[in-house]
């Protein structure tokens, strides 16, 4: 497999872009940073399937496409199914000898938002991973249904204001905890599962390359800061992602073969989650005196989870 060198940014920047501009994602959207990084990380031909979501509606607005690779969209839930079907067909045609260029390396990738990964497409993703197709599923996790007006999803964290879990006099926003999708996918026995963030471009590019190289179904959860629904200035996308990784709201780690856990980024100075929450409009209400206990609870949960990750890494189980 031909991979682009990610030794340093200068070498990485020699990659030929295959994701074109003039898509209609919001200015400062992290989705396109992540997609560009995946497509630049390899020279292989890519077959990409995308679930309905911001990425899909913005990059394939008739009569335009922003994709310089094979790309398909079917429904909200079935990018994993479409990618696994394409992969099965590719294998069958390879076996029968009906491929035009059987030696050309091809990688199969599926993109989904958190709504289509955590909720709507969950069963389909689970099925595709269980069948063991050789593909990589990338979840662009912006913690809500941003495409349809910011409804809550099971990826929305505690305390966030969304249009269907509103903060007000009687509620402090979403009350339920975020689903641990990475652990669920690791429990499927997928050979490579990771959580990555675009501000740490190197670990992200390496993670993508590892997933593409690994035979079998791989799952990557990526943090995609949403300027519109998280309510921050478009220029701050990377800054907010920095806060997310440094406050350990989004720890960066990988799980190999469902067992071996490696932490890929340890912040030198761990910042309190309060700083991360304060930077976004969707947590504004938590800073009222009656809601302070929610922030304390979030901090406690984050600390406990980080402790758990470190224990698992040490114990190698």
């Amino acid at each position: 497999m031909a991979i682009t060198s990610v030794k340093n940014l200068k070498e990485f920047s020699t990659a030929n872009e295959r994701f074109e501009g003039a898509h209609l994602l919001c200015p400062g959207c992290a989705h396109s940073m992540i997609v560009r990084e995946l497509m630049n990380a390899t020279d292989d031909n890519l077959v990409i399937a995308t679930n309905t979501g911001c990425l899909e509606v913005s990059t394939a607005v008739y009569p335009y496409t922003s994709w310089d690779t094979s790309w398909i969209h079917i429904g909200f839930e079935n990018a994993a199914t479409a990618a696994s079907g394409a992969e099965a067909m590719y294998k069958a045609r390879k076996r029968k000898g009906t491929l035009k260029d059987p030696d050309a390396p091809v990688k199969f990738v599926a993109f989904g938002g958190d709504g289509s990964t955590y909720d709507i497409g969950f069963q389909w993703l689970s099925g595709a991973v269980e069948r063991g197709h050789d593909f990589t599923y990338i979840c662009l996790d912006n913690e809500n249904y941003a495409n349809t007006g910011g409804q809550r999803s099971s990826a929305t964290p505690v305390g966030a204001h969304t249009s269907t879990a509103q903060a007000g006099r009687v509620s402090y926003g979403k009350k339920q905890k975020k689903k641990d999708m990475v652990a669920i996918m690791a429990a499927h026995g997928a050979p490579y599962v990771a959580q990555l963030a675009p501000n740490k471009w190197k670990s992200m590019a390496k993670g993508f390359q590892k997933a593409l190289e690994t035979e079998g179904p791989c799952f990557i959860n990526t943090v995609s800061a949403c300027t519109t629904e998280w309510k921050f200035d478009p220029k701050d996308t990377i800054h907010i992602t920095d806060l997310a990784t440094d406050s350990l709201m989004f720890p960066i780690y990988e799980i190999i073969n469902g067992r071996e856990l490696n932490i890929l980024y340890r912040p030198k100075n761990v910042i309190p989650v309060e700083e991360y929450l304060a930077a976004q409009g969707r947590y504004k209400h938590l800073f009222k005196p009656e809601n302070r206990h929610v922030i304390e609870q979030i901090q406690k949960d984050v600390d406990e989870f980080w402790e758990y990750l470190q224990r698992r890494e040490e114990a190698k189980v």
């Binding site: 031909a2 940014l9 200068k10 070498e11 990485f12 920047s13 020699t14 990659a15 030929n16 872009e17 295959r18 994701f19 074109e20 501009g21 003039a22 898509h23 209609l24 994602l25 200015p27 400062g28 959207c29 992290a30 989705h31 396109s32 940073m33 560009r36 990084e37 497509m39 390899t42 020279d43 292989d44 031909n45 990059t59 394939a60 607005v61 008739y62 009569p63 335009y64 496409t65 922003s66 994709w67 310089d68 690779t69 260029d101 050309a104 675009p198 471009w201 300027t227 200035d233 478009p234 220029k235 701050d236 996308t237 990377i238 800054h239």
Partner: protein, 149 residues
């Protein structure tokens, strides 16, 4: 349909009225070719040499989204490529490890490139869309001295 996305900057094809159908008449399943000719592997062909089709959003522009624009100062740039890796709109043009400039047809003016620029003073700064690039360069700030603690 004229100007679906675009201004006239990069020769967007205007789809004639005879090509168009209403939203309820569109056949289910549409294939849009990114290129007019067959390209074996686009990852090996630099963008300048690709036979982009009129369906490729590369031929469209979102320049009208901008109210502020980044201006690039070659003299200060150290080619670190931070702006390239984090540009969400594929609008930083880098070739052979060198930053060449900004693609104003695709830039939406989000300002991420300015935020991630590490030089002192920054080699990318946001100016009003109407500002003349030369005038912008002439108002570039001086190097900020580090405050002694």
């Amino acid at each position: 349909m004229k100007g679906v996305l675009a201004t006239d900057k990069r020769g967007v094809r205007e789809l004639g009225a005879e090509d168009l159908v209403g939203w309820d008449e569109v056949t289910q399943g549409v294939v849009l070719n990114s290129f007019d000719l067959e390209v074996e592997n686009p990852a090996l062909v630099p963008p300048e040499e690709r036979p982009y089709s009129d369906f490729n959003s590369y031929t469209a522009t979102v320049a009208s989204w901008r109210v502020i624009k980044p201006v690039y100062n070659r003299d200060i740039c150290i080619d670190c490529q931070n702006c390239w890796v984090w540009c969400p709109d594929t609008s930083i043009i880098s070739r052979d490890k060198q930053m060449l400039g900004i693609d104003y047809d695709h830039c939406k003016g989000c300002g991420v490139c300015v935020e991630v620029c590490p030089t002192n003073p920054k080699s990318l700064l946001m100016f009003a869309e109407a500002e003349d690039p030369d005038a912008a360069l002439s108002q570039w700030p001086e190097k900020k001295k580090k405050e002694k603690k």
